[in-house]
């Protein structure tokens, strides 16, 4: 499955410790994201990626290893970001 940031979306973020506040254009919504969510967004900033590429990026970024828990959480976050109309699934 290929994921990307929606073409009309621009993000403005601030980091506070290991937490992030992200302002989303054009929705005008402000989101409070944890490091996992932010790493997933960072993974997609440059280019679209498939789910496994995203998870590997996240594991590298967070200095973690790819396991079932990380995979499951990452997919949950991707679905949540899709619900918030920030990312989309490309078929």
């Amino acid at each position: 499955m290929i994921w990307s940031i929606r073409s009309n979306v621009r993000l403005n973020s601030r980091q506070y410790g290991d937490e992030f506040v992200v302002y989303c254009i054009p929705s005008g919504d402000t989101h409070h994201f944890d490091p996992l969510s932010m790493a997933i967004l960072d993974a997609l900033l440059d280019s679209q990626k498939n789910t496994q590429e995203i998870i590997q990026f996240v594991a590298d970024r967070l200095n973690y290893y790819v396991d079932d828990e990380l995979q499951e959480h990452s997919v949950q976050v991707l679905n949540e970001l899709q619900r918030k109309k920030i990312v989309k699934r490309n078929i």
Partner: protein, 304 residues
Amino acid sequence: MTISSLSNEELVYQLKSQGLCFQTGPFVIKLLSSFSDVAEGIASLYADYPLASASDFIDFHIAITSPKNWRRWYRPQVEFYFDQYKPFRPLPADQAFAMFEWSSNWCVANHMHQYLILHAAVLERDGNVVIMPGSPGAGKSTLCAALSTRGWRLLSDELTLVNRKDITVTPLPRPVSLKNASIDIIKNYASDCVIGPIATDTTKGTVAHMKPSAESVQRAQEIAKPKWVVFPKYMPNSEALLTPLDKASSFMRVAENSFNYSVLHQHGFETLAGLMDCCDCYDFTYSRLDDAVAIFNNLKPPVE
């Protein structure tokens, strides 16, 4: 010249005829009203406010009037007009002064988008500003009133005006709104405080307003730099407790307590981010005002 320079007759005449023009913080209000409660409230709580000069731009044309119908005689009512528009339903006539206070807050919150406007009390001491956002009933105004009688300069008890360019706070010192038990608590805490007309059976219960100090009104043009965001919460019988808060959570909570964050779009985000950059953030629970004031007096500004 201040409102106190007018005789009672002159004040009533101006309110009834051409309108009383006076300065509150950065704004000029022109107020028309024939209600004696409004005249009494203005005379007692706004005595130190500067009268506007004839050349001043008037930001808000406000009229607090009687409906021109049978409700003038039967269960009399009061209406608020903003430039010829009537945005709210009438209220019972004995809430006339409270209606002026609420409606003038509404004018600022809905129109002055050159500021990021927070629903928060705000005070200053030694050049350092504390912003206290709070939902209704959190004890924000009670704590604000108490602090303002113990050496803190009142900038506002309801509307924090954050300048978008330099993240300073512009004062809007106005009478402090007290509700229900808070009225007697503050009367006992500061026996020399001046309380205006009391409105009963409002949607918020019994409401009265406390006069701001003359100093806070006279220094209304002095902006100041925010250093702390404190979310107060009154909890009966609790010890005063200040708990550090992470800035990301604080950011979201302040945004929720803003009147125009979403109106300002990206500018709202940038301004709020700037505010978070210069402030330490805390949750604060209290029950005794003296303990609360002692803790606020010991707040240390963040290291820049």
